[in-house]
């Protein structure tokens, strides 16, 4: 892990392996990552993040949105992708592959997280 090393704030190193795939910059892309991921990669991300997500939000809440540095922005994006992947792991479970066939028809066109910081 060369360029991606220390790409997250201190204390969140356990999430580094998931940055390249899951730290994407729009809600539509986050939904797409969930759609095309396999069960093992969703489980790995979920298992690594479930114990850190509350702490990540508290860490980020201490900083104004729109003034995140690059590492904080990555952590925010991972948290937002976790919102999507948790639906697969916690709720859809073994039905996720079937569900993933229908979901892309619901095309995300806007989300507050995608809007320019005010």
């Amino acid at each position: 892990m060369s360029g991606a090393a220390a790409s997250l704030p201190s204390g969140f190193e356990a999430l580094e392996p998931f940055v390249a795939f899951w730290a994407v910059d729009s809600a539509a892309q986050r939904a797409h990552c969930r759609d095309v991921s396999d069960e093992a990669s969703r489980a790995a991300f979920y298992d690594a993040a479930i114990g850190l997500i509350a702490r990540a939000l508290e860490y980020l809440d201490a900083r104004p949105l729109g003034r995140f540095d690059a590492s904080e922005q990555r952590l925010m994006r991972l948290a937002l992708s976790f919102a999507h992947v948790s639906m697969a792991v916690e709720l859809q479970r073994d039905q996720e592959p079937r569900h993933a066939r229908d979901r892309p028809y619901m095309r995300i066109t806007r989300a507050p997280a995608d809007q320019p910081a005010g």
Partner: protein, 401 residues
């Protein structure tokens, strides 16, 4: 007869007046019926197409397509702050004026011959205008009626609407104004196209009978539960062509770890904004013909189903929010709220298409509706009343000398 469930409604006189017979299936797939609906309803009814927050300042504009009418509508906010709507059609030779879907610009110039229009629809100028046989002042964009209630933009394609929007909404206008949507500044949105009739699509969202079967995982058991397995609403009401219900609240919903986390993050932000005391938090407002709003503060969403043809429609779902994300927790809560709702609606879309495929076969002459599906019956009752009135109107016009 079985004992009445504690949440089962006794049919009101108004509900019983709608009848209990099966409903004809043909209006849900036949082209000739859709042609009548287009003229009798969609070309002359107030239709929600957006929100005033999309036009935040003078010069803002949005463009909306109405496939059923082959119409493109340009909606602007002028320097005077007033929102106006026009056919997106250059008054020279009919060229569509802008290909953009929205934005902000000082004027609209037709790419064909350079005619330029302002936000009030006026023709500001045209190259070599003096060689035309018409006055510049008579060449403004063709106006379309647009009015606002609770921040929601409604357009009426009728050149002379028979009612104002407020008259049309009646008592519901004041109730809508109490909703968070009235002060919304932003929204999450997802859209879908579906091979299904607009009524069949919309009807899915008018009953809770399907929840336990179609959403056993994603639904979270919020509106069904051991005490109310079929999700009987706690109240129905009819307001002319419109209708409302109050969705039952499961006192002990089964929430996942992340649902608890996300709503636990979202609710404090909503409380800080004073949005958790919504009087109609479990209310469902269905405005004729194709729009509904759910009052829930954590998933405060609107949904309209716009017809494209007898067997194809487009749905737009928006979760409205008040204020920009105040922090990471609120941003996370809003993203989760959308992801969860989208899972639910994905399941709906798939089963609605299956229903349409079945009806298209012509195998069924009628659809059977039970007591809880009275809102579906109410919609069909008013659709058919409009269609019949239109047919009478046409017949009377044809009979005139």
């Amino acid at each position: 007869m079985n004992a009445q469930h504690q949440y089962q409604q006794s049919e009101s006189d108004e509900a019983l007046a709608l009848g209990t017979d099966p409903v004809p299936a043909a209006p849900y797939y036949k082209d000739d019926y859709f042609d009548l609906e287009r003229e009798a309803i969609f070309r002359r009814t107030w239709l929600n197409i957006g929100h005033a927050c999309e036009l935040p300042e003078a010069g803002s504009f949005i463009v909306r397509q109405f496939d059923f009418a082959n119409a493109s509508i340009l909606i602007t906010r002028g320097r005077d702050g007033i929102i106006r709507a026009f056919h997106n059609v250059c008054t020279h030779r009919g060229t569509q004026l802008t290909d953009e879907t929205g934005g902000r610009q000082s004027a609209f110039t037709c790419r064909y011959h350079g005619w330029t229009f302002g936000h009030h629809g006026e023709l500001r100028g045209a190259p070599d205008m003096q060689r035309f046989y018409v006055q510049q002042k008579d060449c403004g964009l063709r106006r379309v009626s647009v009015e606002v209630c609770a921040g929601l933009l409604f357009v009426n394609l009728d050149p002379s609407p028979r009612q104002s929007l407020r008259e049309y909404l009646g008592a519901l206008a004041a109730q809508l104004e109490t909703q968070p949507v009235a002060s919304a500044t932003t929204f999450s949105e997802y859209v879908y196209e579906i091979d299904a009739n607009w009524k069949l699509t919309y009807d899915n969202f008018q009953e809770n009978y399907h929840l336990r079967f179609i959403h056993p995982r994603s639904g979270g058991g919020g509106a069904v539960g051991p005490d109310n397995q079929f999700g009987y609403p706690t109240r129905y009401a009819f307001y002319g062509e419109h209708r409302t219900q109050t969705i039952w609240t499961n006192p002990a919903p089964q929430l996942s770890a992340t649902q608890k986390l996300a709503f636990g993050r979202l609710v404090p932000a909503l409380m800080q904004r004073g949005m958790m005391n919504a009087e109609h938090g479990r209310d469902y407002f269905a405005l004729f013909p194709n729009f509904f709003l759910i009052g829930s503060p954590t998933q405060h969403f609107t949904h309209f189903v716009m017809p494209i043809s007898a067997r194809r429609s487009r749905g737009v779902i928006r979760i409205y929010w008040v204020g920009d994300d105040m922090n990471a927790s609120e941003r996370f809560g809003r993203e989760f709220s959308m992801a969860m709702l989208r899972d639910v609606h994905s399941e709906d879309r798939a089963v609605i298409e299956a229903g349409q495929r079945g009806l298209n076969s012509g195998a069924l002459e009628h659809i059977h509706l039970q007591g809880q599906e009275v809102l579906i019956r109410h919609l069909m009752y008013h659709v058919d009343a409009k269609v019949r009135a239109y047919q009478s109107e046409r017949a009377a016009a044809g009979a005139r000398p």
